[in-house]
Amino acid sequence: MRLPIYLDNNATTQVDPRVFEAMTPFFLEHFGNAASKSHAFGWTAEEAVDYAREQVAKVIGANSKEVIFTSGATESNNLAIKGVFEMYAAKGNHIITVVTEHKAVLDTCKHLEKLGAEITYLPVGEDGLISMEQLEGAIRPTTILVSVMYGNNELGVLQPIREIGTLCRKHGVLFHTDATQAVGKIPVDVLADNIDLLSFTAHKMYGPKGIGALYVRRKNPRVKVTAQMDGGGHERGMRSGTLNVPGIIGFGKACEIAIQEMESEAVRLSAMRDRLEAALLQLEESYVNGTREHRLPHTTNISFKYVEGEGLMMGIKDIACSSGSACTSASLEPSYILKSLGLDDELAHSSIRFGLGRFTTDEEIDFAIDLVTKAVNKLRDMSPLWEMHKEGIDLKSIEWSEH
């Protein structure tokens, strides 16, 4: 086993060697511009891109003509939300989203607020999920878009996508989902789920960084987004810029592998994740954040009360993972996602996200269980809060000094 072990697959994933292999000829040999129509270099590139586009479309149940290649999910989210806001300005200016969205959605919405958009930020329950009643209640005649993420990056919880799609269809409102964490991990079907726009990216599913896609529905209804970059009119005029051919080939290969292996991988990963979780919940005062019922197979987010997340990360430095604590940020604010579940700041500070992946082994999980358990126990032995808790002192009764 090689150290450190990697349990941060929600941040990014290792490129699958099969993906890497598929990409390599497109750097030195088939380096043509897919838009060059006058020679074989261009034709070869175009043909390979066409094939990859089909693989990418297939992983979400779309038609290849509905796939717009971008630089990644951040750009896809920007293009979807800003593009709809501009294109559908005549219909309205109201967008509904959720407080636990990724910053690429939230900050895009904040940007649009300055340009006259009205945004509703739906809250979530302590399970991390939105309420369908609240969503329906938020829809107005001027609502043009609902943007709700598929699977949450920090918690792994899955929003009720099919119900949201059905509701949006009923009200004639477009539905965008940031499916960055979900595509390639669980079955995603834009037709069954009535999704109109869907953002995803290669590097979360064992593909390369710098390549992503936006699904834009072509039929029932035909959706259009205003381009956010001017240029050669690539990607049906919605996203100009020379295509990243090696990236697209890698993305296609990654999708092909995901289609083949997703089902068995999900079983393997959730079994390992559940084993990790069960062992760590043996520690007193440890809690899983968000619902355990509707979530991605490879993610768990656990708070170890009375232990500070960043301090814990240092104690488990042989495990690459991430913490909801933001001790390093100037604001000292813990994760806004954990806070929006109604978690006390101190629990948010004490959280660790484990993201398992295709290359995670049982041996690594054993190692992680052992190391985390030891580190939590050690830090609790030196935590004044743990000592107070053990003495039965209510921490809320203490007047803490701010700093």
Binding site: Y306, V307, E308, G309, E310, G311, M314, G315, S325, A326, C327, T328, S329, A330, L332, P334, D344, D345, E346, H349, D381, M382, S383, P384, L385, W386, E387, L395, I398, W400, S401, E402, H403
Partner: protein, 138 residues
């Protein structure tokens, strides 16, 4: 973020972890920080009433590696000093010794506050006025 070797050393082998009897007349206890800020330090001193020398010091800290190292170092430094000498410890000395980056300076401030709070607790037990810091932290 990369930690300095000294921070790693204090984190891995913290000095003077533990608890003194906070009810004792010769023990001063300082509890500073707040759980929601992600740092709480408790620093305790055992003072010789005759000489004013801090004969023992213990800490427990909830916080990041830098916070743990800052409090561990603080207990090391104040042991053997008189109460008055201990008050002269400046947070920037801790920053320098541990090579703390700018985002971690607050950990050193907290350690200095913890020393002062422990001394004030001890002073109050002896019927003395608490000392007020007029220092402006950077």
């Amino acid at each position: 973020m990369a930690y300095s070797e000294k921070v790693i050393d204090h984190y891995t082998n913290p000095r003077n972890i533990g608890t003194l009897d906070k009810a004792s007349d010769t023990v001063g206890t300082g509890l500073v920080g707040a759980p929601e800020c992600g740092d709480v330090m408790r620093l305790q001193i055992q003072v010789n009433e005759e000489t004013g020398v801090i004969e023992d010091a213990k800490f427990k800290t909830f916080g990041c590696g830098s916070a743990i190292a800052s409090s561990s170092l603080a207990t090391e430094w104040i042991k053997g000093k008189t109460v008055d000498e201990a008050l002269n410890i400046d947070n920037m000395d801790i920053v320098e010794e541990l090579a703390l980056p700018p985002v971690k300076i607050h950990c050193s401030v907290l350690a200095e506050d913890a020393i002062r709070a422990a001394i004030n607790d001890y002073r109050q037990k002896r019927g003395l006025e608490p000392l007020v810091s007029d220092k402006v932290h950077h």
